[in-house]
């Protein structure tokens, strides 16, 4: 797979992985994945269900650690730092790498307390300061205008799309550099999906965003780079435009033209 790099010369790679293998017990889910993810860009992971997109995404904030019997081989670095070395600080890592899940999962607490949760557990208790963080995060996630008059009401009373934007605000509130999103709009109606996509567009210059999606139009719309996975292998990774117009691999082409998956 020798080829010219898809990245401009001045690209800073925030996440780099080298020969990553991942196992659930005895079952191998990822094979030999080497990939450099550029900073302050949107990178989309596409591929048929079960090909390992979520598994790979969850490696970057070590969420797979919470599943018993998993094992990782290879090298994963964020800003050059080996995040799986012994003694690596998972709390610090997860402050830097926020995550938004497929199904919106606000806590059964008030809107304010949801957003303030992260800052609080990391030691911010000053009321004024928390209020500022909450406001800033909600503005950032394009939810402020809808909820500013009911910050104390329960988050579970929000609509699905609002809940997902709240989850994004909650992730932003701890000041991450990287945002991992695992099919963040797959459970939402088209209108809410558009809002989330617009939001990603607004965040793209400030955050390194990695988004899993099974929706190829979505990947084409919102991402700068796209990685196609198949059965645990990284088949192709290139500028999104290239992937969708001139894929190099036959498998990629078959997938994006809808021949399988």
């Amino acid at each position: 797979m020798v080829e010219t790099s898809p990245f401009p010369a001045d690209t800073e790679h925030v996440i780099t992985t080298s020969k990553v293998n991942f196992f659930y017990g005895a079952t191998q889910a990822l094979f030999d994945i080497t990939m450099d993810i550029p900073g302050r860009r949107v990178t989309a992971f596409i591929g048929p269900s079960g090909c390992g997109k979520s598994t790979f995404l969850r490696i970057f904030n070590r969420m797979n650690d919470t599943i018993a019997g998993t094992r990782l081989e290879g090298d994963v670095r964020i800003n050059g730092e080996d995040i799986y070395r012994n003694g690596s600080n998972v709390v610090r890592l997860r402050r830097k790498v926020g995550m938004v899940f497929q199904k919106s999962n606000p806590f059964p607490k008030s809107i304010f307390d949801n957003v303030a949760y992260g800052p609080r557990i990391h030691g911010t208790h000053d009321k004024q300061q928390l209020a500022e963080i909450v406001e800033k995060s909600l503005i950032r996630s394009a939810l402020w205008d809808e909820v500013k008059d009911r910050l104390e009401s329960n988050a579970l009373g929000l609509s699905g799309g609002q809940q997902q934007r709240l989850c994004i605000a909650r992730a932003l509130a701890v000041g991450p550099e990287i945002l991992l999103m695992d099919e963040p709009a797959s459970a939402l109606d088209p209108k809410s999906t558009i809002r989330i996509e617009d939001l990603i567009g607004e965040l793209r210059n400030e955050y390194t965003i990695v988004i899993v999606t099974h929706n190829m139009q979505q990947a084409a719309r919102i991402s700068d780079y796209t990685a196609f996975f198949y059965e645990g292998h990284l088949v192709e990774f290139n500028a999104t435009k290239k992937i969708f117009t001139k894929p190099r691999e036959k498998q990629t082409e078959d997938y994006i033209t809808g021949r399988f998956g």
Binding site: N61, M63, T66, V90, V91, R92, L93, R94, R95, G98, M99, F101, K103, N105, P106, F107, P108, K109, Y117, G118, R120, I121, H122, N154, L156, C167, R170, A171, V174
Partner: protein, 288 residues
């Protein structure tokens, strides 16, 4: 169709039977205790002495029995709540699958021990222990009863609290961990608050069991109807009084009626506790 109807009717009658029975019991209690209101009057119940049989002057003061029940129940909840809630958290969130396999059957076993057997254990093992530990004249104290009741309440409260904790969606835990929360932060700031209604219900059921329990306290609390708040003093609870004296009391006497009043008070207390529990549940239930 007729099968459906018959089934409906059967279930309806089963349901209404219980309502009917409750009403019947209540009416019976009222009827048996009613004459006491006229003579000697309800004021007689508010007395610090319970001396229902006497050649000099009878006293039907239920205050020492109420304080006895309150002391034993209160002490017992003081032990039960932290032990059970921490135990439930451990089993649900921290224990390895192997530990869980070992712990759970033991808790179920504890739940299945008849209270008389526990009372026997209290009499033979616990009472002497407490007597020697505190250098008392007798080991039959409020504390002894409370400890036994704790053993009885723990399985219920642990099991129900554990259910409540286990039913908290995994997604909350994921969200908390992904924000960099430690396991303990996740447990105490997300999981426990989300499980709180269930935990409160579990505690209320535990209190119910403890207040109503008769046999064990009858055996180990020393049965002296003296008003005290000392955990190391012998006391007598309302339930134990009814159980001990109902067999010998002369039918229809003032003593007999006073025992029914104790029953009514007990009923009122458990009713109030239930209402409070419901209120709490509704309030937090809305939060869910």
């Amino acid at each position: 169709m007729w099968k459906d109807k018959a089934m409906r009717l059967l279930m309806l009658s089963a349901a209404s039977t219980s309502i009917f029975l409750v009403a019947l019991i209540f009416i019976f209690l009222m009827k048996e205790s009613a004459p006491f209101v006229l003579k000697p009057g309800l004021g007689a119940l508010i007395d610090r002495q319970w001396i229902p049989v006497s050649f000099v002057e009878e006293h039907f003061g239920i205050l020492p029995l109420v304080t006895g029940s309150a002391l034993v129940t209160g002490l017992s909840m003081l032990f039960t709540i932290p032990l059970s809630v921490l135990g439930a958290i451990y089993i649900a969130e921290i224990a390895s699958p192997v530990e869980r396999e070992i712990l759970k059957p033991f808790i179920e076993l504890l739940a299945s021990i008849p209270s008389v057997v526990l009372g026997f254990f209290g009499l033979v093992v616990l009472a002497p222990l407490i007597k020697n530990l505190f250098g008392l004249g007798t080991g039959l104290t409020a504390l002894t009863g409370a400890l036994l009741l704790t053993l009885m309440a723990i399985p219920t409260v642990i099991t129900l609290s554990e259910d409540a904790i286990m039913s908290v969606p995994r997604a909350y835990k994921d969200a908390s961990q992904a924000l960099g929360a430690s396991d303990l932060q996740t447990i105490f700031q997300v999981i426990i608050p989300a499980a709180l209604p269930g935990i409160i219900a579990a505690i209320m059921l535990g209190v119910g069991r403890v207040i109503g329990e008769t046999m064990a306290v009858l055996m180990v609390t020393g049965n002296s109807a003296i008003m005290t708040w000392s955990p190391l003093a012998p006391v007598r609870t309302m339930t134990a009084t009814i159980a001990a004296e109902m067999g010998e009391v002369s039918f229809g006497s003032m003593h007999y009626q006073a025992l029914f009043w104790i029953g009514l008070v007990l009923l009122a207390v458990t009713f109030v506790l239930n209402v409070i529990a419901q209120r709490v549940l509704v309030r937090y239930g809305m939060m869910k």
